[in-house]
């Protein structure tokens, strides 16, 4: 690589990294400052006297671990439901000769287009009538449906690539059709299933509007809504909010750090084929 080329590559890397990380870095720095340091003008960039007090307060001022548990339960179970139901549908749509396949696909896409806010009004009524407000199913069911179209499409695009012979071989060996789905098709398209799962999980983890609507008891709040409870009526305790934000984004950061290659690869494959 010649010198010019190397400069371009370094420049590119720095821009992308800075653009992606500056908000997280800034709240990390803020979370280590004291309230008095925060009010200094001109503002300080690096904390003068780093403190972990804000983190202690973040855990005591609100039940943040409870918020996190709620988010994990809701995102985890809705992902499992979405991937299971989506895999069955994707299999039916790609490996079976069904009439109206394209129609079914279009209906799925139309569902993805329907604005969540429009669903929120009647869903709230439905959940209230069923007595499900402030329970996990009130979020698990809608989140599973929310990601169902994209997950089905991603998995369908992977299922399509598996040679039918492999499936036929499994069936000759005494596998049923459904057995072949679970023993051959799904294991072989693991990256696709995995991508679908990550997409569903991140979607559920990030969702705000339904979580705000369906869960109004503090103990049932998910993280995305729970974090907004740290703000006072009139004041914004930024160091405390920053500390809470850092605690809240750590799990999702670990998740994408471990699975980054799979996520990008899967989004790539899903995006190109879909």
């Amino acid at each position: 690589m010649n010198f010019n080329r190397r400069v371009v590559v370094w420049f590119a890397a720095i821009v992308v990294v800075v653009n992606g990380f500056f908000p997280a870095v800034w709240i990390l720095l803020t979370s280590l400052k004291t309230e008095t340091e925060l009010l200094q003008v001109p503002i300080t960039y690096l904390p003068l006297d780093p403190t972990l007090d804000n983190y202690v307060l973040a855990f005591t001022a609100q039940p943040i671990l409870r918020f996190m548990w709620n988010s994990i339960v809701v995102a985890g179970l809705s992902t499992a439901l979405c991937v299971f139901v989506g895999a069955l549908a994707a299999y039916a749509l790609t490996r079976l000769r069904l009439p109206h396949r394209n129609l079914i696909m279009s209906v799925l896409l139309a569902v993805a287009m329907f604005p969540l806010i429009s669903l929120m009004v009647p869903l709230f009524k439905v959940m209230r009538e069923l007595g499900l407000l402030n329970t996990y199913p009130a979020l698990i069911l809608p989140y599973a449906v929310l990601s169902l179209p994209v997950c089905t499409l991603v998995m369908a695009s992977f299922f399509q690539d598996i040679p039918p012979d492999l499936e036929a071989a499994a069936m000759i060996d005494g596998c049923s059709r459904v057995g072949a789905l679970f023993k051959v098709v799904i294991p072989l398209s693991a990256p696709g299933v995995f991508t679908a799962a990550i997409l569903a999980f991140v979607n559920a983890w990030d969702e705000f509007l339904l979580a705000l609507t369906m869960m109004n008891r503090v103990n049932m709040r998910t993280l995305s809504v729970g974090i907004t409870l740290y703000q006072g009526e009139f004041a914004f305790p930024w160091p405390l909010i920053s500390a809470a934000l850092i605690v809240a984004i750590v799990p999702i950061c670990i998740l994408i750090a471990i699975f980054q290659e799979r996520v990008v690869g899967g989004l790539t494959a899903g995006g190109v084929k879909g």
Partner: protein, 304 residues
């Protein structure tokens, strides 16, 4: 074709199996989407005011819709939503395309760049809104700190209607561009290297290569990204909610926020349902505009 009679029996069982496999998805959609949509339309034609239960539920015809058309707040929140779409969809496309081109360089160590694209995507919208609110604080925000360093007067970003709008746009564009970049990066990686080599042989500059090879090849990916982005832009809620709460006054309120307020704060389900139905129509109009555009341009492509 020749084995058609033989497979008749198999087709039948395949069909039954297909129906069985699609059943769970269909049931979920029925309960979570179809039934709520039906009640949405039904409610929109009724007066269902839970704040005044003594009035009861009664058929109101199109009253809720005529009320919306005479409601200034409906029009202003719709206008804000359209403005957010008009500014943030092209904005995040441009930033996303820039990031995708940068991220497509041959890096030796790939993970920092990958995480740089993934982190904004995985960050909840509300969190992005809160962080940018913090950036745009009057006295202690970073943005004003830099303006002062360059000798400019620091404005009150979030209490001025116009500036608050632009501050929110910046936050949305930053947040949305990473997903754009990921999708466009996927498109970039499918462009065969040979096309660039051929262009180089023909003496095309880097700039010409971008216009003549990259952009045309990227068109399908751009299109998919634009549709996704527009559908989400119609529903803009979280970031303005976290940054201004729709204020000052209702200067940055979106249609989604107004629907939320009407339904959950004012408990006016009938009117809220009519507004939600109108929003659905806006969303359909926005996306069908794109669809018509591609059909036209792909038709033109065939004529070439």
């Amino acid at each position: 074709m020749t084995d058609a009679p033989v497979t008749t029996h198999k087709d039948l069982s395949e069909r039954t199996l297909g129906v069985l496999l699609l059943l769970p998805a269909a049931l979920l959609l029925l309960v979570i989407v179809v039934y709520p949509i039906a009640t949405l339309f039904w409610n929109s034609l009724h007066s269902v005011d839970q704040a005044n239960p003594q009035t009861g539920e009664f058929f109101a015809g199109l009253d809720n819709y005529t009320r919306a058309f005479a409601d200034d707040r409906f029009w202003s929140s719709t206008l804000h939503t359209v403005l957010y779409i008009v500014v943030t969809v092209p904005g995040s496309l441009l930033l996303g395309l820039g990031l995708a081109l940068l991220a497509n360089q041959p890096f030796k160590i790939k993970w920092p760049v990958r995480l740089g694209l993934l982190l904004p995507w995985a960050l909840p919208l509300v969190f992005a809104g809160l962080i940018f609110r913090w950036f745009f604080e009057y006295k202690t925000g970073v943005v004003n700190d830099w303006l002062v360093r360059f000798g400019m007067d620091p404005p009150q970003w979030l209490s001025d209607p116009t500036l608050a709008f632009w501050a929110i746009c910046v936050a949305i564009i930053w947040k949305a561009s990473s997903f754009m970049a990921l999708m466009l990066l996927a498109g970039l990686q499918t462009i065969p290297k040979s096309l660039y080599e051929a262009a180089e042989v023909d003496g095309a500059s880097k700039w010409q290569q971008f216009w003549e090879v990259t952009l045309p090849m990227l068109r399908p990916a751009i299109f998919v990204a634009l549709i996704f982005r527009t559908i989400t832009a119609v529903q803009t809620f979280d970031i303005p909610y976290a940054m201004t709460g729709g204020g000052p006054g209702d200067a940055t309120e979106t249609l989604a926020m107004y629907i939320h307020k009407t339904t959950l704060d004012f408990l006016d389900f009938g009117y809220g349902s009519a507004l939600a139905t109108l929003m659905f129509l806006i969303s359909v109009a926005a996306t069908s505009g794109y669809l018509r555009y591609t059909r036209r341009s792909s038709g033109r492509g065939k004529d070439d």
